[in-house]
């Protein structure tokens, strides 16, 4: 007769738990590893290879693609890529600020409505973003093209040159980005406003704080977690946007995403595109990290969930 010691049975339990962990987690972990981690690692490797005759990567390893990305070409240095990078940063900044300015009153307005209506109002804000982004950009192409009422109005006001229309332009890209990302800011801000402690606002008003000061000292700090979450949801995807600048921006409205994508189609240069992708990843992770730090410092210990 075999007697199992408590030790052995505990060991057996650990083994079976580990087997369970492997059984449940392995398929998915493997899937993501093979179909995302390996491809990303491959792309990083490509960035350090040389551009071959058909735009495909070749040995030997070099930093050529990073030099090209910085603007060094056959004909000396050109600022084109640098402009694209700066434009991406600028568009991200402007559209995020505009989204915040619009989303604050909208989110607050929803909380002032009757509770019964709130889910429906939120739904009304979100529904347009359920349609495909290509279709939404196409809607703006229809609206801003030369000859449309909006373009004619802008022309008669002297805002754009005659017969040019509002699209393609940098303005159209900003508009498209704001349109695309507005719901992502309204939702977290609404969640923050709904939890708002109105006693603080009341106290500020009782102390004769001006509305601006009352907002700044009593309301704003309480909505900060929502604002940060919204900024992450808006700014990071906006920086890597491909569809909107491609459709609404034209050649002069190109952003980093288009620069990267173009290297894998038409004017092929895989290593250059891969270097651009690395730049985008670095920016993304710096952005995420910065938001976490800010959230931790300003959130007063309250972890901002990202």
């Amino acid at each position: 007769m075999v007697r199992t010691s408590p030790m052995a049975s505990r060991r057996r339990a650990v083994v079976s738990e580990t087997r369970h962990l492997l059984f449940t987690v392995t398929p998915g972990a493997f899937w993501i590893f093979i179909f995302l981690v390996l491809p990303s690692a491959y792309l990083m490797g490509v960035a350090f290879m040389t551009n071959g005759p058909y735009g495909l990567p070749q040995m030997p390893l070099s930093l050529d693609s990073f030099e090209r990305l910085a603007g060094v070409g056959f004909l000396g240095w050109s600022p084109g890529n640098l402009y694209t990078l700066l434009r991406s940063l600028w568009q991200t900044l402007v559209s995020t600020v505009l989204v915040v300015i619009i989303a604050y009153p909208v989110a607050y307005y929803i909380t002032t409505c009757r509770e019964k209506w709130r889910p429906i109002l939120l739904l009304l804000v979100v529904v347009p973003s359920w349609t495909n982004q290509v279709i939404r950009a196409f809607g703006w192409m229809n609206l801003l093209a030369p000859g449309t009422p909006l373009s004619s109005l802008a022309e008669s006001l002297g805002l754009v040159a005659p017969n040019m229309g509002l699209y393609p332009s940098n303005f159209a890209v900003t508009l498209g980005l704001v349109y695309n990302f507005l719901p992502f800011m309204v939702l977290p801000l609404y969640a923050a406003f709904e939890k708002l402690d109105t006693a603080q606002v009341q106290a500020a008003q009782d102390l004769y704080a001006s509305p601006v000061r009352a907002f700044w000292h009593a309301v704003f700090p309480q909505t900060l977690p929502g604002l940060l979450a919204g900024t992450v949801l808006v700014a990071i995807p906006a920086f890597g946007m491909y569809v909107i600048p491609e459709l609404l921006g034209g050649g002069k409205g190109m952003m980093l995403g288009n620069l990267v994508a173009n290297q894998f189609s038409g004017s092929s240069n895989w290593p250059l595109g891969a270097a651009g992708a690395i730049l985008m990843l670095i920016a993304t992770f710096i952005g995420l990290f910065a938001m976490r730090r800010i959230g931790k410092r300003l959130g007063g210990g309250e972890e901002v969930v990202i």
Partner: protein, 265 residues
């Protein structure tokens, strides 16, 4: 007095924003019924563009591709994601940081980097082995990759919300693990399974960038078809397909509104 102007200002901003959000969609719907080949001037009401739409075999194919892609990727992602979600719950006391990082990777990676790295990888593997030829297969792989995290997180949070003693009870009730899964696990997490499936489905239908880069010559989905049609030149025919897609979204919105109401009662 001041309060009233503030309230009015807020309402004004709200209606202005709604107008801003719906005007592009409204214009698409309006011009899909335009008899003239123009997106600037509306002439007469006509269904001509819809008629052309249903004769266009490419569009029908693209629609079929979209559906096949969404359904098959959602089913695969549901199975794999559920397993991870349960594993994460059952072993939540272990140090699983690497797993969490792996699961968040598809979410935080910018679409364009996601799509391009998969495309580059598939092309290279295809050159070496002849496997993974660009087409519906590679698209399904890519979609499953970005759907898994969402399924896993939904299922995980459902398990976290359950009373842990339920698991003990189930262990006492059903001797075999398979019975436990069939009679206890699946029924209890059914709402999570349903919402995970629909979320995966919508993510797949809505995706353009990742599909675009992993597609083959004959596996265009509806958004890819619309994209290439726009690139060739804007026609009211695009308005007609877009209107049908907007209609589908509107139906989904109405359903979710009714569902919401029922849930409250």
């Amino acid at each position: 007095m001041r309060k009233r102007t503030l309230a009015r200002g807020l309402a004004g901003i709200w209606w202005g924003t709604l107008f801003f959000l719906y005007v592009p969609l409204f214009v698409i719907v309006l011009f899909s019924f335009n008899s003239a080949n123009s997106t600037a001037v509306f002439e007469n009401f006509s269904l001509a563009w819809y008629r052309r739409l249903f004769d266009n075999e490419q569009i029908i194919n693209a629609f079929g591709n979209s559906l096949v892609l969404a359904v098959s990727s959602s089913i695969i992602a549901l199975v794999i994601g559920c397993l991870i979600g349960y594993g994460m719950y059952r072993h939540r006391h272990r140090k699983l940081g690497w797993l969490i990082a792996l699961i968040y990777l598809p979410i935080v990676l910018p679409d364009i980097v996601f799509g391009i790295s998969e495309m580059a990888f598939f092309v290279q593997i295809h050159a070496w082995t002849g496997l993974l030829e660009p087409g519906l297969g590679t698209m399904i792989i890519a979609h499953v990759t970005f759907q898994i995290p969402f399924v896993a997180l939904i299922v995980y949070s459902r398990f976290v919300g359950l009373d842990p003693t339920l698991f003990e009870a189930a262990k006492d009730l059903y001797a075999s693990p398979i019975k436990r899964v069939v009679h206890f696990m699946v029924p209890t997490i059914k709402p999570a399974l349903i919402s995970a499936f629909f979320l995966s489905f919508t993510l797949s239908i809505d995706d353009f960038v990742i599909s675009f880069f992993t597609a083959g010559p004959e596996s265009a989905t509806l958004p890819i078809y619309i994209w290439s049609a726009i690139k060739k030149g804007v026609t009211p025919e695009i308005n007609a397909i877009a209107t049908l897609m907007i209609g589908a979204v509107a139906m989904a919105a109405i359903f979710s509104m009714l569902f919401n109401r029922q849930g409250r009662r």
